[in-house]
Symmetry: C3
Subunit: 330 residues, 3 copies
Amino acid sequence: MGGTLQGDPAAQVSGVAPLDRADATHLTFLANAKYAPLLAERSIGVLLVTAELADLGNPRARIVVKNPHEAMLPLLPLLYPPPPRVPGIHPSVILGRGVALGDEVSLGPGVVLADGVRVGARTRLEAHVVLGAGVEVGDDCHVYPGATLYAGTRVRDRVRIHAGARLGSDGFGYVFREGEHAKIPHVGRCIVESDVEIGANTTIDRGSIDDTVIGAGTKIDNLVHVAHNVRVGRLCLLMAQVGIAGSVRIEDGCILAGQVGVSGHVTIGKGARLAAQAGVFGSIPAGETWSGYPARPHKEALRAQAAMFKLPSLIRALERLVERRRDDER
Amino acid sequence: MGGTLQGDPAAQVSGVAPLDRADATHLTFLANAKYAPLLAERSIGVLLVTAELADLGNPRARIVVKNPHEAMLPLLPLLYPPPPRVPGIHPSVILGRGVALGDEVSLGPGVVLADGVRVGARTRLEAHVVLGAGVEVGDDCHVYPGATLYAGTRVRDRVRIHAGARLGSDGFGYVFREGEHAKIPHVGRCIVESDVEIGANTTIDRGSIDDTVIGAGTKIDNLVHVAHNVRVGRLCLLMAQVGIAGSVRIEDGCILAGQVGVSGHVTIGKGARLAAQAGVFGSIPAGETWSGYPARPHKEALRAQAAMFKLPSLIRALERLVERRRDDER
Amino acid sequence: MGGTLQGDPAAQVSGVAPLDRADATHLTFLANAKYAPLLAERSIGVLLVTAELADLGNPRARIVVKNPHEAMLPLLPLLYPPPPRVPGIHPSVILGRGVALGDEVSLGPGVVLADGVRVGARTRLEAHVVLGAGVEVGDDCHVYPGATLYAGTRVRDRVRIHAGARLGSDGFGYVFREGEHAKIPHVGRCIVESDVEIGANTTIDRGSIDDTVIGAGTKIDNLVHVAHNVRVGRLCLLMAQVGIAGSVRIEDGCILAGQVGVSGHVTIGKGARLAAQAGVFGSIPAGETWSGYPARPHKEALRAQAAMFKLPSLIRALERLVERRRDDER
């Protein structure tokens, strides 16, 4: 950890806890003097602490580090090893014809694999996951309870799909004719590349003819909507409740904050950032940060918003000017 | 009901219906003269009505009250008693090791309880509910079909969790290093106190190290997102599609209207109200009502919006002034 | 197709693909010169193309049409016939008392039908669909995996309900009394008329006393929220993440773009259109297009937004004027 140990080098802990519920069995951390009073009341196992606060409390051991929160992150996998994989196929699993299962897969209760499904090695599908006909999931994936992958969806390796996510559902495409919204058949696919994580209850539609693609290493939060034919690049972050309309291109490394909406057929340039709730109606240049409704470059949006809140007094000043001008001209 | 009966005191009804489909077996209500024509066409069992409209129609019985809609609410549980609880464990239920079940629990088809789950007395888990390892659900709870509680989630008593809600999923936390978004392990819990109701397809993430907590008596609507480490106080109302980013504190008695977004690490003071679609980027003082994007005190936001729509004419007026000024100076 | 054939009239294809992955077994299309380079690299089966671009590439056959994309739509059902219906009741299906099943229904693994459910002819319920007591689903419907219809919900004919949709959940209605938010029992129904499509993870609450109704031929995208007592007319389009608060009336033929929010008790007039992210706080006249927050007629909103971004320079101009005026008066 690159820190300095004070106190008992034999101190042992079995978990991590926030300061307000840590005890002698826990490692915890203090990085801000305002939380110091919590320390006085507690018998702590190991305390990660900054040099400035290192004389506070009475933990069994203290490790002085520059950034206690960051220092703790590499410890978490040591203290909380992932639960051991228990390969096996629950007797209630339903297998279609021609299903191919990799080594050491784990299929939970009520999992349904339709005809022609392929599941890679060491992949875990939890209870009630449903994979439609011809779905392919790669190696070392983890699909949480109740997620659905519609027919034809392809997921590469080391992908996590959280509970209730829906991949490959039909896109929202209709043609109005003869007095009804006639459904456009959706025959494209939903493709998720490696090392992607998809949040709970998120929906990603299949393509209409083209495919919908989520690039490698991209992370998607809960309740996000990705429409048909969207291409999301590599290493993007899409935060909760973001909505992406059809045929949008999001290039590599973009960050879309919560509740952002992007309208159809635009391109978000490489590394661009969109602030929370931004409403995007045109393409965004690479590397820029945009915000607001309609979205504009962030600095311009901030200036306009600041001006908007000065407007009522501005209008009064202007009315006075006009009034005086009128007086002058009488 | 504190009302006055007119007509047949022996009139009987078996249900409540809106005026446009009520018949002689129904109790219905009329509070607004514009709906009176519907009454003429119908043979009604019992009509709740205001004094002003009490001479209309020909129901078998009429009860004159101050507020017909409010008067009806206490009648609903009498006319629609909740379906009788049928305790029992469906033969398809999957029980892990060390599961503890309270008296008279009801476990529907396909319910999965992982190792170490505890379910309190009289709690009902409907079809396909999945509780991860070590989940604790208290007494008299009702979890609707297909909801998922990830490992370690704790739910107190009399909590309702609607279909498809996901509690305790991993928060959206990554550190960018060595060319990838490395996942921060989430070892905090999701804790739901007593008398909470959680809407359909809502997602509440577990904490990273700290916990995510929903306070007693708080009600959460459908499709809401609550991120890691959020603390929601007691008796709050979070309406549909609200999104709360990480580590936000929402104090007791706050009301967040539909589609509100709150960015990370801010505090919403006790009893504050946020209007629909508000975008909150800083802390909100207790008791205040804020609205708009970026959110401002509601009156200030209204003034700024009103001014904004006057702007085009203001700009023209100003241009005329500048023009004249230039003329003057020639 | 009303086009002109060039090349080999015996050319055969077995599928449709976008230009960047089409080969000799595919039909594809070219409508924009910027994609022409993709054509050079490929051996294509059949190319739909406009007259202007008809000399490009070397497909086995070429069909010259006015609009290649539209021309392809009627071909899709020919090349991708829907998978044959396989009627049957999976042995894991749970049937309550008094369930009535139409001819040739298809009930997938883990489907649960509570007491008194009626399912029409040729309707398909996929894995883990749960229908509560007394639910009625009409003929030729398709309900995708994991959807839930709460007790009493009624769905007419030819309705598609995508994975994870929740219909008939309790509305968000409470009365604050004696220090708690007391739940208002919800005894209205959720009624979905014929030819409706409902997206993945969308939620539609039941009515409180009145019903929630979705009119015939209306299409609803993913992650939409429709609250209690809402009436949506016929042939509307509600795009992803739209939120409709309680007791709203949406008349026939309205289009609500993504992330629109409509507050309670207002009416959206026949054929009105709401632009993406619009925040609607009052009724909208028939046939109009509104946008922005708070929503205003679209042209007015555009003018105000344009003015807002001129504001900072306007304020500087005004300050100069006031300054000079002050100088004049010295």
